[in-house]
């Protein structure tokens, strides 16, 4: 105890304690910097474990010496409050700083200073210890477009440009046209999207060569699968949510059964079902493309999750809204479309965004039926005999890609949430 009392500053001797404490902290950080950047350790004469923890001990003593409430120095007060309010927190602070310092040089070396990006064969990377970004560079087109023939990549690009352009049409619907905006997005847009993808990417007519869906892949396939999943599972989920809240018992129980069934099974078994079981359920001469079967399975699966999210919004609405709508003489559908759903959907924007994020993150699972989007292409590239041994680079590339997509989506949903927030 006396030890701690010695280290405890008072208002009178704080100046001295401050100087000594700051010096000690600086020494400890300096020690770690020396160890990690210059590989030099000045305390090797100490026994092993003490040598290892020396900076931590010095730093803790230093932080202890500057810990004083309302010391009069604003900066010190701020430091004390935010990272140094008790010995435990001080220790964790030091640990985080030291670990970051220790991890920085090897990580930087591997990722930047010793990495290779030049050349286009594996041999270019053989000389250095660092990451081989050449691998990503060479395989980049494959990661984005899959096995789609190189000459036709413009078709995928054009198709996506068209899709985005048609998505923005809603912004230009003014005046009377605005009444049809829901109709456009719910029914017309999916049909247009399907036509674009069918004729441009799949081809087979208008002089475009037919490319079978097995060749599709990479990031573009991720986008196609999540895009169709997104636009179709939303209306289906809405209907299921209304069905679950319906007063008609048959409809309610069918909806409950559907939702609980799909929510209880993993997506991977659903995809298995779509690939091995579903063909048995169709007439023997009917042929449904693998990709369409997979997208249908994903839609049916995610719709159950969307339904539960929307149900949450429906339940959160006060009864008065229903009563008011009914008292105006609105029928069931008019009430739902003009009064209930607009309010309920606004409430559940974060939930729906989460479900869509889950959908995007689930797309790699289509590997079980032999389709390969980004992660699938990585696995393919990894086992390519010419490019063995670069798994790490590939996974880092793909994680950053997915992270960026998902982070952007979650940010956008936060923006939407704020935009449609109305005080009630």
């Amino acid at each position: 105890m006396t030890n701690i009392n010695i280290l405890k500053p008072t208002r009178d001797n704080f100046q001295t304690y401050l100087y000594i404490g700051l010096t000690l902290i600086l020494i400890s950080i300096f020690d770690v910097v020396l160890r990690s950047f210059f590989n030099f350790n000045f305390s090797t004469f100490l026994p092993g474990i003490l040598n290892l923890f020396l900076p931590l001990i010095i730093g803790l003593v230093g932080l202890q010496m500057i810990r004083l409430e309302y010391s009069g120095n604003k900066i010190i007060d701020k430091i004390n409050q935010s990272v140094n309010n008790n010995p435990f927190n001080a220790g964790l602070t030091l640990l985080i700083i030291f670990l970051t310092l220790l991890a920085t040089p090897p990580a930087l070396n591997w990722m930047i200073f010793e990495a290779t990006i030049s050349g286009d064969t594996k041999e270019a990377c053989a000389a250095s210890e660092g990451a081989c970004w050449t691998y990503i560079k060479v395989w980049f087109r494959r990661f984005i477009y899959g096995m789609y023939p190189n000459d036709f990549h413009w078709r995928i690009n054009t198709a996506f440009i068209f899709l985005i352009a048609f998505a923005f049409v809603g912004y230009f619907m003014k005046g009377k046209l605005k009444n049809y905006i829901t109709f456009y997005y719910a029914i017309l847009y999916p049909i247009i999207a399907f036509i674009i993808i069918n004729f441009l990417i799949s081809g087979g007519s208008f002089g475009l060569e037919w490319v079978e869906t097995n060749a599709w892949g990479g990031l573009s396939l991720t986008f196609i699968v999540s895009f169709f999943g997104l636009i179709f599972c939303f209306p289906l989920g809405m209907i299921l949510a209304l069905g679950r809240r319906s007063e008609l018992p048959v409809i309610r129980y069918i909806s409950i059964g559907y939702i609980e069934f799909w929510r209880g099974v993993p997506l991977i078994t659903v995809l298995f079902m779509s690939s091995v079981m579903f063909p048995m359920f169709l007439p023997s001469d009917a042929f449904v493309d693998k990709l369409i079967r997979v997208i249908a399975a994903i839609i049916l699966f995610e719709a159950a999750y969307v339904a539960e999210v929307i149900r949450g919004g429906l339940q959160a609405l006060p009864r008065g809204q229903y009563d008011a709508a009914k008292s105006l003489g609105m029928g069931y559908w008019r009430m739902q479309i003009f009064v209930i759903l607009p309010q309920a959907l606004k409430l559940v924007i974060p939930g729906i965004a989460n479900t869509f994020l889950a959908l995007v993150k689930d797309t790699p699972l289509i590997f079980v039926v032999g389709l390969s989007e980004v992660v699938g292409m990585l696995q393919m590239a990894k086992t390519n005999p010419k490019w063995l041994g670069f798994a790490m680079e590939g996974y880092i590339f793909a994680s950053i890609l997915f992270w960026a997509i998902c982070y952007a989506m979650s940010r956008y949903s936060q923006y939407l949430e704020l935009k449609y927030k109305t005080d009630r």
Binding site: Q81, N89, T93, V250, I254, I268, F281, F402, W403
Partner: protein
């Protein structure tokens, strides 16, 4: 009459639609199976499976039946799920509390962890751990021991095997310890509610759990032998550790990825739960003189748990379902063993996929019943 008709017609139409879809599928399935000469039935479960499984908790080889293979897969799935749930709860609670820490660095480190790990697809994380991180481990012959007796190698994690004699006595002693802990806990609760005294329940429980089994060991009723992993040469260049328990790298990668991924969601639930308790509760507790630890234990946690448990249950369910991704790295779980290998061999798609789905449905149901029971136990009891 008009009103009733208005109610009945949509229901009738929906029912007809569902029946038509089911009927269409059934008739097609029947026709297809007739065409290929397969008959529907679960008799194949008794046949000899004639395939091997890499990792199994029960005795199994190719001469056992498909039903046994199913059991092997199911047990492996349950093993991964239970391990994952335990670890994701531990990490999740720590990170969730850390996100509310007054320490700026800890708060932000935790936030970055959550933001990163939940925005990267789980499959990618599993691949990362299995193909990149664990492949970088040393070969068995070059491995330095971890904690003295365990070896983390590229071929798996080798830990000592415990060989018990008279294990049942030890088991009863642990059971006795647990029962007495429950009794003491109830007594402590009564004491707390009636007189406001607090017993050091945690200390007593831990010491009971340690002392009772230790007594059986000391008195010699139970004997324990430890089989340490020993390096063994299989061929000129191939080494393994024998005698210990070997945890295959697939299991390691899967548990790591599942728990790190799910922990981000659990952490968010924990954070939401603690934040959901109004500040007034904390201040009121402080003003009656409770210490910070008592505030957390007696005031915040009991209330926060009510908010935390329902969403956390969902995360446990997700983890169990996500454990099916094991098939991607060839960990022999239910999907790989049964819906993969067994399906390939027998070709009985409908039976096997339906059994697999039903199994997952019942697992989900079991977890949600268990957690609902727990939730009800700690819910507010209004008088």
């Amino acid at each position: 009459m008009n009103h009733r008709l208005k109610n009945i017609i949509p229901q009738l139409l929906t029912l007809l639609f569902v029946l038509a879809v089911i009927g269409f599928f059934t008739i097609n399935a029947q026709l297809n199976m007739d065409e290929r000469g397969i008959d529907f039935g679960y008799g194949f479960l008794g046949q000899e499976s004639s395939f091997d499984v890499q990792f199994s908790l029960i005795e199994y080889d190719g001469s056992h039946s498909y039903a046994r293979a199913y059991l092997v897969g199911l047990l492996n799935t349950i093993l991964v799920s239970v391990l994952g749930i335990i670890f994701c709860t531990i990490i999740g609670v720590i990170v969730g509390v850390a996100r509310l820490s007054p320490n700026y660095l800890i708060r932000n480190t935790a936030a970055w962890y959550v933001e990163f790990f939940r925005n990267v697809p789980l499959l990618l994380q599993i691949f990362f751990w299995y193909y990149a991180a664990l492949r970088a481990l040393p070969l068995p012959e070059n491995t330095e021991p971890l904690f003295g007796v365990t070896y983390l190698t590229v071929k798996g994690y080798y830990i000592p095997r415990l060989i018990w004699e008279n294990f049942d006595i030890l088991f009863y002693s642990i059971l006795a310890a647990i029962i007495s802990i429950v009794i003491i806990k109830n007594y402590a609760k009564k004491l707390q509610e009636e007189k406001g005294q607090q017993l050091p329940v945690f200390l007593i429980s831990v010491s009971l759990l340690v002392i009772l089994p230790a007594l059986t060991l000391i008195t010699g009723m139970v004997q324990l032998e430890v089989a340490l992993p020993v390096l063994k040469q299989l061929s000129k260049t191939s080494f393994i550790y024998a005698d210990g328990i070997s945890v295959p790298p697939e299991l390691l990668a899967l548990v790591l990825a599942l728990s790190l991924y799910t922990a981000t969601f659990v952490a968010e639930c924990v954070r939401a739960g603690i934040q959901g308790i109004s500040k007034g509760q904390k201040e009121a507790a402080a003003s009656v003189g409770l210490t910070p630890n008592q505030i957390l234990k007696l005031v915040i946690m009991p209330q926060a748990l009510r908010i935390i448990i329902p969403p956390t249950t969902n995360q446990y369910l997700n983890l169990t379902k996500n454990s099916s991704l094991a098939a991607a790295i060839a960990y022999p779980d239910l999907v790989l063993v049964f819906a993969g290998t067994a399906l390939m061999q027998t070709g009985r798609a409908i039976e096997i996929v339906s059994i697999t789905m039903l199994t997952y449905l019942s697992l989900s149901l079991a977890i949600s019943i268990l957690m609902n029971w727990y939730n009800k136990r700690i819910a507010i009891k209004e008088k």
